[in-house]
């Protein structure tokens, strides 16, 4: 376990001895990690190593899967997110998520963004709501492209635009942390570049944890990188350190493309 103890960053999520089983097969083994505020943390590793599983632990989306058993501590604001009294709905409001395949709701672009803030009572008047939608779309770098067609279906946008819409939707509820599970893997190179830029800007406001199977992407966007292998966290470090000088053989092999 290699944890970067750099003090310039404040802790956002603390994970200790996290184990997770799907039925009888263990998908995460003894994971310890500290996620720092207003940074991008990338999670890399070969297919099936538990990247997505780890990510879903952070906002308890794993609760939706049957037969999952979790052990260990995940702490946010000093509270264990798995404690019985923790309301997972509240947790998910504070820990937003963006998925691999863009999944806008089959509603208008406006509604896609306005839906959650309205339900959460974050806005009361229409004007406030309009403002919030505009702000979120601006932050997601989509405003200029859609400002004239806010009433069109969200699904009518291109893939990259849809993904940015999903990001806008996530940031509209002002979460602390945004989880992204391979947010660019279904996108073309140009959209990918846009999203990568966006992540760079968003980390001013939000803590971002992103999964990627593309090492180059991790190198480009992440401040910290965690390398998983067969459910274990093999190495966690400052990204530059990780790519220039991996401590473990496995990480080195993976990064240099010896397999995967």
């Amino acid at each position: 376990m290699h944890t970067n103890e750099d003090a310039r960053h404040e802790l956002s999520v603390r994970v200790r001895d996290l184990n997770l089983w799907y039925g009888n097969s263990q998908a995460l083994k003894n994971v310890n990690i500290d996620v720092y505020q207003k940074n991008v943390t990338a999670v890399i590793g070969p297919s099936g190593c538990g990247k997505s599983t780890f990510l879903r632990c952070l906002n308890r989306m794993n609760d939706l899967i049957r037969n999952v058993r979790t052990e260990g501590l995940i702490e946010m604001d000093g509270r264990d997110v798995n404690e019985p009294r923790m309301d997972e709905v509240a947790l998910r409001r504070r820990v937003g998520m963006v998925f691999q395949k863009p999944n806008p709701f089959p509603k208008s672009i406006y509604e896609n963004v306005a839906y959650a803030p309205r339900m959460h009572d974050l806005v009361s008047r229409k004007a406030e709501q309009d403002e919030l939608v505009e702000q979120a779309l601006r932050d997601a770098g989509l405003w200029n492209e859609v400002k004239d067609k806010l009433q069109q279906q969200g699904t009518s946008l291109s893939g990259g635009q849809q993904q940015r819409l999903c990001i806008a939707r996530a940031i509209a509820v002002q979460p602390d942390v945004i989880l992204m599970d391979e947010p660019t893997s279904a996108l073309d190179p140009i959209s990918t570049a846009t999203i990568e830029d966006l992540m760079d800007r968003l980390k001013q406001q939000f803590t971002i944890v992103t999964v990627t199977h593309n090492m180059q992407q991790a190198a480009r966007v992440a401040d910290y990188t965690a390398f998983f292998h067969l459910g274990e966290l093999i190495e966690y470090n400052d990204t530059r350190m990780m790519f220039s000088n991996p401590h473990t053989k496995k990480a080195e092999d993976y990064i240099t493309g010896r397999y995967g």
Binding site: N59, M61, V89, F99, N103, K107, Y115
Partner: protein, 418 residues
Amino acid sequence: MLTNQIYLLFSAVLIALGLAAFFLARARASHLRMNGTAMVAQPDQYAWFSVLSTAGPALLAAALGAFVLLLLGADIPILYLLGASLAVAVIGLLVGLVQVRPDFHARQAIERVIHGILAAAALVSIVTTLGILISIVFEAVRFFQMQGFWDFITGTTWAPGNSFLAAAGRGAENASAAQFGSVPLFAGTFIITLIAMLVAIPVGLLAAIYMAEFAPARVRNLAKPVLEVLAGIPTVVYGFFAAITVAPIIVDVAGFFGLEASFNNALAPGIVMGIMIIPFISSLSDDVINAVPDSMRQGSLALGMTKAETIASVVLPAATPGIISASLLAVSRALGETMIVVMAAGMRPNLTANPLEDMTTVTVRIVAALTGDQEFESAETLSAFALGLVLFVVTLALNMVSVIMIRRFREKYRTNDL
């Protein structure tokens, strides 16, 4: 009987020829291949081709002959027919053998035939629809000639009584003429259908929501087949239940509230029909709800929505076209349902909106007219066909709408599929 023997003879000779074709062709092909000729197909394929070319045309010829003989009444001695078709079989056999050539694509030929047979099977469904149309259209047209199409569609009085008397030769001059205004029948049908839907849609839809979104796997696995039993119960049984058990209860309950209910009230068949349709709605809705991609649910939950909010504002809107279309299909089932109303609904063409009164339905009238006592040519009997025709058209239209809705549903979530 002679015909039986002829069938027997025909099949026996044909089977013999078919076997001969198979073995001769295979032997020939194997022989050719032994001699080192490269062939595009395999011996078995040549063999099967020969069998097809022997039996196929012969069967066609026999069927054609029988058709001409039986239906067009042509006078072909049956032995000639037998001889002719067997001759065709022999010719087919020879053709099959000649075709055992290195460059003949026997497999492709067989597959073309199979393709043809499959396509023919698919056409049966079209023929069936045409058959239904043909079997009602002519009589319906005769009815319209007697009674007038417009009066039938828009008339609000269904009083066929006098057509009966007229047919009996005792039509009375000062009695009013028979009237065939189908509006009361359709109104009754729609009201009973409406009652059924008021029972089936809420219960069915909510049950589907529970099964698809909340229920633990075990409950779901149990509930689905149990509900399907409700759909499988024969409609006579429901009819018996509606007439003997439910109707008296309704009369009692209505009496308790100081209302007067007829024993043939529309409520009893309506409710029972609704119960019958619940599983229909619930399993179709369950399917469409399940077809809403999980990514949408996750997208909503990840925003901190509760389950109910996710269902209400994401899942159900996405599934709505599918649910509507399921309901439309259910409506067309209810419209055409016969036995429940025959046993439990009234016979009185009664234009009313009060479900405690008795009313009648289109299907009841069709059964009554076709099993009743009037002369077959009487307008009332023929009215059954006219009613059937309208019913056919209505269900057809409903189904078309539902096909369009389903398509829209698919498009809606396909776009999300990138």
